[in-house]
């Protein structure tokens, strides 16, 4: 095995690579690190047309390493009993292809890698839902986890406080899809479609999505036959993600976004505060996104992080335009009123 990769510089930009082409795009646009997965249930973005074959990952690791970028492999689903061998094989391949770290959630997977591939660095996935210093320390103590990806539910002062009490690096999401449920604890997709986010790596799978026209010319977006949202003829129909649908409650008969409006997370303005709070790495969501999206977002955040490092004010106008439905949020990070 080669010498371990250098993860020491704070302000690391961790970028999505859904395909080999997206990986090369992200690296060329200035990613310090890219994250990706295999074409199977071992990662939480097990979508058709995404992810890497073994030869693709091998070539991609070589491409990234030749340009000084690091590659993380997401092994962040929960193997159902009887299928653990798939995760075992993925871990062996990760070690053989010299990825720089594996992102894990399941304790069995973490223990397996810590025991069988002790040279392989471990990051704790957001899917592990470690949101307290005690939970984080559990994974550090037992599996030697070097970095935790924090759930998107903490304010900046809370992140600062956690940093004081844990022995590992912190990575936070700064841009992209804004998940509302505790990651790794959500079976909504499984309930409506029979495909599981935790066990199969899918969330509101495209194969179960339909759009149906109403009599008035409006559109219904459906998942597994259930209406998740309705749109007037002049509205843009969104993707039917269960936790971003409109539902009626007894005293809200008109229907409302019961969980969250379809907004995207954008913490560009908070980058300096996050670095000040001790966040080591910034993660951009979006392995399902196009190359052009990756190029624009990574390029803009590269410039923003470099500006913050230089003590300047970053220019962020372009990033707002990329946000889903043009609406963005700072989620929980700015205020606990979000809760």
């Amino acid at each position: 095995m080669n010498a371990p990769a250098d993860f020491s510089q704070a302000g690391e930009l961790v970028c999505p690579a859904g395909t080999p082409a997206a990986l090369r795009t992200a690296v060329d646009a200035g990613a310090d690190t890219v994250y990706c997965g295999f074409q199977d249930a071992t990662n939480a973005r097990n979508f058709p047309g995404l992810n890497f074959t073994l030869p693709e990952l091998e070539a991609s690791v070589a491409y990234a390493h030749a340009r000084g970028a690091k590659v993380l492999l997401a092994l962040n689903t929960y193997p159902p009993a009887g299928k653990f061998d798939l995760w075992r094989a993925a871990a062996a391949n990760a070690a053989r292809l010299q990825v720089d770290a594996c992102i894990v959630a399941d304790m069995g997977v973490a223990r397996h890698i810590a025991t069988e591939h002790p040279g392989l660095r471990l990051h704790l996935s957001v899917q592990a839902a470690a949101s307290s210093p005690e939970a984080i320390r559990y994974y550090c103590q037992h599996f030697g986890v070097k970095r935790v990806v924090l759930p998107r539910i903490l304010t900046i002062p809370e992140i600062r406080a956690i940093k004081q009490e844990i022995p590992c690096e912190i990575e936070t999401f700064i841009f992209g899809n804004h998940g509302l449920m505790v990651e790794g604890r959500c079976s909504l997709t499984s309930w409506l479609t029979g495909e599981s986010t935790n066990m199969d790596g899918v969330c509101s799978p495209a194969g179960k999505v339909t759009y149906e026209e109403d009599a008035n010319g409006g559109l219904r977006s459906c998942l597994g036959g259930f209406t998740i949202d309705r749109f007037a003829p002049d509205e843009t129909a969104g993707y039917p993600t269960i936790c971003k649908g409109r539902y009626a409650a007894p005293h809200r008969p008109e229907g409302y976004y019961a969980f969250e409006e379809p907004v995207s997370l954008n913490l560009a303005r908070l980058l300096p505060d996050l670095m000040g709070a001790g966040v080591h790495a910034f993660k951009i969501e979006g392995r399902q996104r196009s190359k052009s999206y990756v190029r624009k977002v990574v390029g803009a955040f590269r410039a923003a992080v470099d500006a913050v490092r230089a003590g300047a004010t970053p220019d962020l106008a372009d990033l707002v335009a990329l946000t889903e439905g043009q609406k963005e949020t700072q989620g929980a990070f700015q205020t606990k009123k979000w809760r």
């Binding site: 299928k83 653990f84 304790m107 604890r185 499984s190 309930w191 019961a258």
Partner: protein, 303 residues
């Protein structure tokens, strides 16, 4: 196989809780009762003082009492509550968050359904750290449950599966009860108390689909695994969990007990259960590896 009563997920008034557990103690054919607040740390002060009395009442009636910990641990009061619970030695504890695992160290404990014990490797790890009993995630299909249960049996670890009640589908840092009423978690005024069986959500077509219980999202229909019950023991499952709902839970427990004992067949059990749970439909899709909300009847491999 034994029947258990899982921890109450809802915010019932203290009086109602006391009456409920008194009746469970006297009349429900369950061997084990899980007590404690799993969903929202703000609720605990309302009934904490009553817990010793409930324990005493249940224990006197011959029930084994297990104290369950919070699923979401983030705030200081949640961390303290978890640490405090893990100090308890005179009763068993069921842990629902990794923060609890750290505090418990290698001492004996049960693993709750929120800890994601999905596979034999994880159960093996947990057993080595003191786990004596594991409640599997509700979404696990029969094939995976069977492998997990065999592994657990080898390790001497008990295995529990939810056979009745709304499916726990998600938890969040945000309170959706408060949100529905234009409030936030910090000024919720305990509006969730108004919905002792969860707040119903319907789709734009008026189809009931989910229930909100504070930070938790549950299924509209109840999981009901009566037809599957008789085959569970052979798979290595040691305990079947009934989740408290706003129905006659003593009657529910009797139905499951009679089906388990072979005194009535699952069809009759289901008819009785329907009469007890008026207006609520039943689901068993998770068990059969299909969409959870479905109800699969009479398959050759049903159990």
């Amino acid at each position: 196989m034994e029947l258990t009563l899982g921890p109450l997920a809802y915010h019932w008034t203290p009086e109602r809780r006391a009456d409920f557990y008194a009746r469970i103690a006297d009349e429900a054919p369950v061997s084990t009762v899980y007590l404690g607040e799993v969903i929202c740390s703000k609720r605990a002060p309302f009934f904490e003082r009553e817990i010793p009395r409930m324990i005493e009442r249940l224990t006197r009636a011959g029930k084994r009492v297990v104290l369950s910990s919070l699923a979401e641990v983030m705030l200081k009061r949640e961390r303290q509550a978890t640490d405090g619970l893990m100090e308890i030695e005179e009763h068993e504890v069921e842990i629902n968050n990794a923060a609890g695992l750290l505090a418990r160290g290698g001492r004996a404990h049960r693993v709750g359904p929120f800890l994601n014990a999905y596979n034999e490797a994880t159960i093996d790890w947990m057993a080595g750290q003191g786990a004596t009993h594991v409640c599997l995630p509700a979404e696990m299909p029969r094939d995976a449950v069977a492998v997990a249960a065999q592994a657990a049996a080898t390790l001497g670890v008990g295995v529990e599966v939810q056979v009745f009640g709304r499916a726990p589908l998600a938890v969040s840092a945000r309170c959706y009860h408060a949100r529905a009423h234009g409030r936030t978690k910090d000024n919720c005024k305990f509006i969730c108390e108004d919905d002792p069986d969860g707040m119903p959500l319907s789709t734009g077509d008026g189809q009931p689909i989910l229930r909100v219980n504070g930070i938790q999202t549950q299924s509209e229909s109840y999981i009901e695994l009566l037809q599957e019950l008789s085959g569970m023991g052979a798979l290595g499952i040691t305990h079947a969990r009934l989740m408290p709902q706003d129905v006659d839970m003593v009657a529910v427990a009797h139905v499951f007990d009679e089906v388990l004992g072979g005194r009535i067949d699952p069809d009759e059990g289901r008819a009785r259960l329907s009469a007890i749970c008026t207006g609520t439909s039943f689901s068993n899709g998770f068990w059969h590896g299909e969409a959870g909300y479905r109800h699969i009847s009479r398959r050759a491999d049903a159990a």
